[in-house]
Every structure is written in C-alpha cells, then in structure tokens.
Symmetry: C2
C-alpha cells in the first residue's frame, strides 16, 4: 500500500566533483535528474541546502516529497550502520559527516547511505541482472576495484559497516607487487582497475619487444580505453594486456566463490567495455581455478544497467528499505 | 516455553570412522554421549537404526525423545539446504544420502545437517568464544583447513549449501605451489593444516643446513606434533616452521577480513595447540597486512571449547534452530 502512495525514491550518487540526484520509480526508471557540484560546498550544511533547492523543481513534477518513500546515498566511505561518511579522502569534508541525518532533517524522509560498490549491488538486485538473486558478488571495475557482496538477499556490511572491500584483497605478497593507494602492495585493484590496465600496458611495453600501436603513445598517458582501441585494431600486445587482467580477475573470483558460492558475479564499470577481450580470459581463468564442487554454479555477468544511470539507480535502491 | 519443555538437543559428529552422539543442554553441557562405528554400516539405513538403538539408553536418562528439541549433524559434505550428504569421499555411502530425512523419520524430531567447520562456527556462536558475535570467521586447523563464515548472526551457506571453503582458497598460483587433495594447487590447507606443517618441515629440512632435532626423525613420518615438541625444546628450525605457517595464515585472514569485516577469527583444531609459536606470527602478519580501515577491529581468538567435545557441541547447536 505504502509503495503505491509513495511510488518514488531519491538516489544520490555522490562523487568528489559532482553529486547526481535521481527520482526513481519501482521499475528503475529515473523520472527526474539533477546535479550539483559537490566540491563547491566546503560546509556540508550548505551542500545539503543546495541539494534540497536543486531537488525542489524535480520533486514538484512527481507530486512533492510526500510521494517519496526514502532516499539512498552512494558515497565514498559511506557507513550503512551509522549513516555517516567517515574520513573520505576525495571529498571536501573532513572527518565524520552525518550525511543521512542531515538529509533526513532537511527532507523529512528516511535516508540510508553506503559506498558506491554496495549501492551498485543493491541496484543490480533491485533493477538489474541480479534481480531475484539471493547470493551474488558485484565487482566494479573503474579507477579502482570495488565490490558489494550479497548473502541471503542482503548486502554484507560486516561488523563495521564497511565490509566488501575485495579490491583491496592482496593477490601478490611478493616484494615486486604493485604499490596501492591504500598504502600497501599487491591489492587486486592495482591490477584489475582501469589504472591497473594502464600500468600493465606500461610494464608490458617496457618488458616486451613486441610491436604495438600503443608504442605511438606517451606511456605515462596510456589509458585502458587506448588499450581497448588498440585491441579492436588487432593489436596483439593490447590483447595480452586484457588476457593478463582477465586471468588475474578470474583467478580471484574463483577464490571469492569459496566465501558465499554466489549464483553470479556481476561486473560493472568502464573496464567492462572491453567485452570479450576481458571476459573470455576471465571466464577461462575462473573455470580453470574454481573448486570442483563449485564448478558451473556461478554465472559471470556484465551489468545491464546504463553506465551513466547505474550509480544513481544503485543509490536509489537503498531508499526502498530506508 | 518450548525450550523449557524440550531442554535438549542431539548433536552428531559424523566422521569416516566413528560417529559421536551427544545429548546437550542449552548451556553446552553434554549430558550423555554415545559412539557407533560409521564404517560398520555399508547401508545407511542400518546406520540410522544402529544410531537410534545406541541413543535409546542415553535418551531414557534425560526423559526420552520428547525432551529433545531437534538434532544437528556435522558431516562431510553435509548440505544445510537439502539435508543431504553429497558425494562424501571419506564415508562408506556413495552419492547422495538423505541423512536428515532418515533421522527425522527415525526419531520424529527436526534434523539439520552441515559440514564440520560450519558446525564448529555454530558451536562457537552458541556455546563458545563467539557467543554474542554477529560477524566472525571460524577457521579449523586439522588434517585440512575448514571454515565457517558468520554474517549478521547466520552461517553463510551460499547459493548451494556448501559455502565457506576458505581452506581451498588458492594462495599460490605459481607452478611451484603445493598440490592439494582437491586436485588443484596452492590451496591454503596445503600450507596451514597439520599436514601442511609437516610438508613445510620436510621442505625446510631439505632446503636448509640448520641443525634441528627434527633431523632425527624419518622425514616422511614427521607430524605437526613433532614440530611443536621440537619448538618446545628450543629448536629454531621448528619455530621457523610455525613462523612460516602463521605468517601465511595471518596474511590470508587479513584478506578474508575484506569480505565481512569480522569481529573475530576463531581458530580451532590440533594445530592451535602450538599456541604462541603459531599465534604470534599469525597476529603479526595479520596486523602487517590488514587494510587500514579494518585495523584493530578483529580479535584473533583460539576456541575455548574442549577439543574432544567441540565437534558434538557444534553439531548440536544446529538442533536449536532445526
């Protein structure tokens, strides 16, 4: 009954630069969308005020805040339990920010917050390829690698609200392992993120005599998109870069399966545009490394959500349970 | 009310050789215990009949089956969802055995089954050091390495009923990795089980010129107990063997923490008798490798349950929710 009377949720995808708001219905259609510049508001109270102002015209179109069931926020270091953003390095606000409480007071609706990868998992479960699944693992492949783990139909937030950091799983404990932004070495995201692919490209170009279209570029400026375009043009070295990336990701996912034997892994983010260049070696490495009793049990899927909408949809999905 | 009228549960720790039954109260006291020989019954129906016969005198003492709320079984390849034992290599019964159903029919009480490591996690949560914890990881260090993962107060059974196989997490993907009984290479249990410790001992003895008490033994017959005894006698090589084992386990647990940020890891099994020889390098490696935001959040605990009773207690814990 309540969902009929309150047929919408608000989703907020909060980034260091911009904050994107969407008003979303139960089928995952973004009815209205609006954006403000996150970093223009050094005081978070001004940020919340500006958000409410920006949302007003959009809310008027759908019948006002009374039609909204709740709000979900996907934010860096968002803590589901406390509703706070805690020590987010790439936001302008220091320390602990009670973001859920501030929006609850300003809008008068319940608000939930989590990080972007957990929000993405909620989005896939609510509107995407994981609809109906009770156990799956979301892997986001962007600048970094994020994850959201779903067990028995719920996102795993762990004892502290920050669980599901598979991008910081250390896959190489050797001294040659790659340095990670987290201060340690060998994390999965140093290999399998967009920046990890660029690092692999630089390494392979330096260590291999193979001809490659990528040699025409300044190594320091190579991006994962350059590598994809080279692969599309038939470049063998570029394909090897994705082989290497996909193999590491497939081996890692085969390991992750031992936790919760997921029905699926759902991959999302810029790197998935590489398509089969990434997914084929990933599938092969997964099948080669999966424990016998888990063989063939998990699908390896790419998100079907529109990339530019997915983050807002993911965040909005939290609003239904807020 | 019901727990007062039915104050007991039956726990069955089913091994390839013996089956130990216990009648347990809510405080984790084993009131009565009885044993039958598992492998003496090639037909599982005879096994169930023999079990009921063996239980009868014990049940009479506590007031009969009417005083029993349910039964829990810890069995190799026990599937929590189906109640079946599925293709257990070290049992005399082939294929799929509907063990829960058979006992339900024979005893007239609800029966739940899972594998021994998940049962151990239930035991710790119900009667042991994890009482009151909602998120922890149980690691059993015996002939192999088993695990039970608890999220939000529930054991993670995954999509298939077999989740939580961290012993088969591949920690070494190189060609030099150790062969595992599962048919693959580099699994955690090839390093951190009792047999893994013995393998490390043989390797170190072969590759190091260090003097050691262990050189007096036939390398093929060295056990983890020998290594412990040598360490107790001040043997440096023996201590290095535990350093190596503890470091690998600590690194791995730091990785596992990214999954559900547990309040604790609970270690159980023969290898924990090594005490600080194992736990000190384990703690150090854990602290050295844990992601910054998870630092100091998890306790590293050794089970407080009596070793010989723990398996029965763990199995019995399932009986309360059966």
């Amino acid at each position: 009954m309540e969902t009929v009377e309150k047929p919408y949720v608000i989703g907020l995808d909060m980034g260091g630069t911009n904050s994107v708001f969407g008003i979303v219905d139960q089928r995952g259609t973004i009815k209205m969308q609006t954006v403000i510049e996150t970093k223009a508001y050094p005081d978070v109270r001004d940020y919340v005020k500006a958000s409410v102002e920006a949302l007003k015209p959009a809310l008027d179109v759908v019948g006002g805040i009374d039609k909204v069931r709740g709000m979900g926020i996907g934010a860096p270091n968002g803590n589901y339990y406390t509703g706070n953003i805690e020590y987010a390095a790439n936001l302008v606000w220091d320390g602990i920010v009670p973001i859920a409480k501030l929006f609850e007071e300003a809008l008068g609706i319940p608000v939930k917050v989590t990080n972007d990868a957990n929000a993405a998992a909620m989005g896939e479960m609510t509107y995407g390829v994981a609809r109906g699944m009770k156990n799956f693992i979301m892997i986001t492949l962007g600048t970094g690698v994020g994850s959201g783990i779903v067990v028995d139909g719920n996102v795993v937030y762990g004892s502290d609200g920050f669980a599901g950091e598979l991008g910081h799983f250390i896959i190489d404990h050797s001294e040659h392992a790659r340095s990670c932004g987290c201060g340690r070495k060998g994390c999965l995201e140093t290999y399998c993120s967009a920046t990890g692919v660029a690092r692999t490209a630089r390494e392979m170009l330096a260590n291999s005599p193979m001809p490659s279209l990528l040699r025409d570029l300044n190594p320091d400026e190579i991006t994962s998109l350059n590598v994809f375009q080279a692969a599309e043009a038939g470049d063998e070295l570029a394909k090897r870069i994705f082989d290497y990336t996909g193999r590491i990701l497939g081996e890692s996912c085969a390991n992750f399966a031992t936790f919760n034997t997921p029905e699926a892994f759902v991959f999302f983010g810029g790197l998935t545009k590489a398509g089969d260049y990434l997914m084929e070696p990933l599938r092969k490495a997964y099948d080669d490394n999966i424990l016998y009793i888990f063989k063939g049990k998990a699908k390896l899927l790419v998100s079907s959500l529109n990339g530019s909408e997915a983050a807002v949809l993911g965040a909005s999905a939290l609003g239904w349970d807020a």
